[in-house]
Symmetry: C2
Subunit: 469 residues, 2 copies
C-alpha cells in the first residue's frame, strides 16, 4: 500500500499532503473555515478543509488526491443553494470554484460567452451588457450565485419563460468527472447532434456526477430600456390572461412575477413602503416588465398595453413605475424574501411548478389543507407566473416536527404529478428533498438515476448523500 492509498490520517498531515499536491490552490483548514460565513446553510463549511483550485488542472489534482485518499469532495459555488446541496461533513473536502472566476471571452457577433465556473451571474450579466447582451438568466441571488452552481442546479429564475432555464443557455461544458477524467465538450453552437449529449447529465446533477469547470453560455440581445408595472388582479387566472395579452404585443415581456397579497403585505411592511400606494387590496399582485430601446419607450409601450387591457379588464388596478428607481423598489417588494425568514426563522419553504392555469384551484385547495394540519398555518405565495413556478413559505419557524412536515409535504406535493408539475422546480434536490424525490418521482427514473450515479462515481466520493439516496 502506497502512503497515498492510506485511509484518513490526522487532519494536519492531510492538509500538508493536500498543500504539497496542489501548489496552485488555496487550502483552508477547519480553523480558517470557522471564521468564514457559511452562506445560506450553516453546514456548508463543516469540512476537513476547503480547497480553492487555481486552475482546472488543480481541480483534476484535487479529485485525484481525493480518490487516492478515499476522501469525499463537495463542489461549492456561491453557497446560495436552498436545499443543502453543498453541505459537508468533517471528513470531506470542499472544492470551492471561486478562484476560477475568469470571463474568458464575450463574442458579441456570435452571441456567446466563455466563462469559468466560479464567475457570478451578475459579473456575466455586466460583461454581456457592455455588448448589449444578456445571458438569458436572472434571479435574486445573482450577486453570489455562480455559473457552475447555476448549471449544477439547472437554475430557472425570472426570465425562464422567455429565454429558457440554464440547460437551454449552456452551449458547451467542461467538467472533471469523479474518476478524474476531464470531459471537454466546449462547443459554441446551438445545433449539435453529435452523439449522446452527456453534458446534459451534468446539468442539474448538483455536483454529484462531476465538477463543472467551464462553460459556453448563449447570450441574447438585451433591451436598453425596461419599464415596470405592479397590477392588482383577482387571481392567477386574470394575471395569466394579462400576461398572454402582453406577450402578443410587440414590446417583449421581460418578467411576469406573481405575489399573493399576504406575501406582498409582509415585504411591503418590512421595506417601509406606503401600502396605500400599492394594489394590496387585490388577492394577487402581478409584476410585469416590458423592454424597449429606452426607459421612456418601454414606459410608453407599457402604458399603451395597459390602456388596451383596460377594455377587457375594466377593474384593473395598479401602478406603472415613473422611474428606474421606482422600478427597483417594486422589484424589492418581490425579491426581498429574506423578510419572511426574519419573521419566521428557518421557515419551511417549497418550490413547485405546475401548469399556471391550475394555480388558482391549487391555492384554493392548499389553504384549507394547511389549516387542517395546523389552524394557524398560512402560506406566503409568490413566484414566476409565466412558467408556472410557485414558491411557498410557511408562516412558521422551522424545522417542523416530522409528522407535521410529512403532512405539509403531502398537502403541497400530493397532486403535482397528476397535474404534470414538479415538486422541485428550480431549487434542486440537494440533501433536503431526497425523501420527496423518492416518493414523487417515477420509479424507473429513480432506478436509472441510481444506475447512472454508480456508473459515474462507483466509490461515491463526489458530493455523496445528495440527490440520490
Amino acid at each position: 500500500m502506497r502512503a497515498e492509498d492510506m485511509p484518513a490520517g490526522p487532519a494536519p498531515d492531510r492538509i500538508a499532503s493536500l498543500r504539497a499536491h496542489l501548489p496552485d490552490s488555496q487550502v483552508l483548514d477547519r480553523d480558517a473555515l470557522a471564521a468564514r460565513d457559511p452562506g445560506w446553510d450553516a453546514g456548508n463549511l463543516n469540512a476537513l478543509a476547503l480547497v480553492r483550485p487555481g486552475s482546472v488542472a488543480e481541480v483534476i489534482g484535487l479529485v485525484s488526491w481525493c480518490r487516492a485518499h478515499r476522501c469525499a469532495f463537495v463542489p461549492q459555488g456561491g453557497r446560495t443553494g436552498l436545499v443543502g446541496g453543498s453541505i459537508t461533513a468533517p471528513d470531506q473536502l470542499i472544492c470551492d470554484l471561486g478562484a476560477l472566476d475568469t470571463i474568458e471571452e464575450i463574442d458579441p457577433a456570435s452571441g456567446i460567452a466563455v466563462v469559468q465556473a466560479g464567475v457570478t451571474l451578475s459579473a456575466l450579466q455586466e460583461a454581456a451588457a457592455a455588448s448589449g447582451l444578456h445571458p438569458g438568466l436572472d434571479l435574486a441571488a445573482r450577486g453570489s450565485a455562480t455559473i457552475g452552481g447555476l448549471i449544477a442546479t439547472n437554475a430557472g429564475g425570472i426570465t425562464a419563460f422567455r429565454t429558457g432555464v440554464m440547460r437551454h443557455r449552456v452551449l458547451g461544458l467542461e467538467a472533471v468527472l469523479p474518476d478524474g477524467r476531464l470531459v471537454d465538450d466546449m462547443t459554441r453552437v446551438l445545433k449539435t447532434s453529435a452523439g449522446y449529449d452527456v453534458k446534459q447529465l451534468l446539468i442539474g446533477a448538483e455536483g454529484t456526477l462531476g465538477i463543472v469547470t467551464r462553460a459556453v453560455i448563449r447570450l441574447d440581445p438585451l433591451p436598453n430600456g425596461r419599464a415596470t408595472a405592479l397590477l392588482g388582479t383577482t387571481g392567477a387566472a386574470q394575471a395569466l390572461d394579462i400576461v398572454r395579452q402582453l406577450r402578443s404585443g410587440s414590446a417583449p415581456l421581460l418578467a411576469a412575477e406573481i405575489m399573493w397579497s399576504g406575501f406582498a403585505a409582509a415585504t411591503c411592511a418590512a421595506l417601509g413602503l406606503d401600502p396605500a400606494q400599492l394594489p394590496l387590496r387585490s388577492p394577487c399582485l402581478l409584476l410585469v416588465e416590458l423592454g424597449a430601446a429606452s426607459f421612456e419607450a418601454a414606459r410608453s409601450a407599457l402604458e399603451d398595453a395597459l390602456a388596451a387591457l383596460a377594455e377587457t379588464e375594466p377593474d384593473l388596478d395598479g401602478i406603472v413605475s415613473a422611474s428606474m428607481a421606482q422600478s427597483a423598489q417594486l422589484w424589492r417588494l418581490r425579491e426581498d424574501t429574506d423578510v419572511l425568514y426574519r419573521l419566521h426563522p428557518q421557515a419551511p419553504s417549497y418550490d413547485i411548478s405546475l401548469p399556471a392555469r391550475a394555480f388558482d384551484a391549487y391555492v384554493a385547495r392548499l389553504r384549507p389543507a394547511l389549516k387542517a394540519i395546523g389552524p394557524a398555518i398560512e402560506p406566503y405565495l409568490f413566484g414566476h407566473l409565466a412558467d408556472g413556478n410557485l414558491h411557498i413559505v410557511l408562516n412558521r419557524a422551522g424545522p417542523l416536527q416530522p409528522d407535521v412536515q410529512a403532512a405539509v409535504e403531502a398537502a403541497i406535493y400530493g397532486e403535482l404529478r397528476g397535474l404534470g408539475g414538479s415538486f422541485s422546480a428550480e431549487h434542486g434536490i440537494g440533501s433536503k428533498r431526497i425523501a420527496a424525490l423518492q416518493r414523487h418521482a417515477d420509479p424507473v427514473k429513480l432506478a436509472l438515476m441510481a444506475e447512472l450515479k454508480r456508473l459515474f462515481d462507483p466509490d461515491n466520493l463526489c458530493n455523496p448523500g445528495k440527490v440520490v439516496a
Copy 2:
C-alpha cells in the same frame, strides 16, 4: 430453456410468434415490406419484419419479445433521416411508431401539446395553429418527420435560433427502455430540477437507448401574418449584420436562411423561376421572414426594416414577396434540395455548425481545399444562418471513393472543433457518421457514450450499430 429463449427460428415461425404476442400490432413480413417505399434510405425496410404497435403496451411487448428472442429492433418514425439511423438488417425487427399518431391534448392556456411519437410535425403544427400556437420547430421534412424521430435526432431546422432545438421544446417524455421498462417523465412544466434529467439522454440518442413513445411539447404564440424577403448580400458577414439589425426590431424575425449563389441558381433553374427576378448576381442570398398580426402588417414591418437597413447597406439588392404565394415560391428556392440529388444522385452531403461570423472565412478556405482534392469538385452551400448551421452538398454523384471521402471529410470537418463547431449539427450520427464521430469527438465523451450504451442496452439489441461504434 423455454421456447421463447431460443435463438432465431425460421422466419414464418417468428412472424407467427410475433403476431400471437402482439395482438394489437400490425406485422408486415419481408414480402409485404418489399412492396413499400423505404423512404430516404433503401436499407430502411430490409428487415425480418416491420411491427407497427397499436399502443405503448405493445411497444413494451415488442421489446420483451425481442429480448426473449435475442432479436435486434430498430425504431422508425418518418424514415426521413439522412444518416442511416433507421437502416435495418434482415434479422432485425422494425418498430414503426406510425400507429401512435394521436395528438392527445392541446392546452392553449399553458402552451403545451401532449402527443404520441408517431405524430408528424405538420400534424402538430396544424393542431397548434388552430389555437394560435406553434411547436417552435420547423423543417422541410415536416410532412413526414415524426415527433419521436425529431426527438431522437434532437432536430433543429429553421426556427432554432429563436425557439431552440428539439431538446428545448420537450417538457416531458415517455420511453420504453431496451430492457422493457417504461420511463414516465411526462412533466408539463418548463422548470423541474428534480434529479438527473434522464430524458435528456434519450433526446438525440437516435433510438439507441430506448424508444420514445409520448412527449409533452412546448408551444409558442404564432404570429398570424408573415412576410418574406430575399436579399442579395456580399457574403455571410453582411447577411449576419442584416439579421442582427432585423432581430433588434419589434416584429419578430422568424427565419434567416442563407444560400450561396451556386445553390440558388441550381434550385431556381429546376423550379423554372425567372433568374432575372432574383438577386442571383450576389455571392449570397438571405431569405428572411418577419411576423406580425397580418400579412399586410408583416409586409409593412419588413419594408420599413429594409428601408432602415438601406441607410447602412446602400447596395442591398432583393425582393419583398407581394403575396403569400410568392413567399411560398421563395421558400421553395431554399427548401427544394431534392434538386441537387436529381442532378447528382446520392451526392455526398454534410451538415455542420460553427459560429456564424466564421462562415465567410470557412467557405473561402473550403473551396480551394475541395478543388485540391478534385479540380471539378464544388460545394453547394446553404443553411440556417442565425444558428450557424451550414449544409454542404457536393456536385458529385455518390458515394465517393474511400480515399476521396476521407480527404473531403478532412477538408470539411478538420477545423470545426477548434472553432467550437460541430461536424453534425442536426442530422445526427446514424450509421454513416460513426467514423467521423470517433475522429472528431472528445475521447472522454466517446468513452462515456460507450459506457452509457452498455448500461442501458448491455445486449446491444436497441438499434445496434448506430451512433456508438
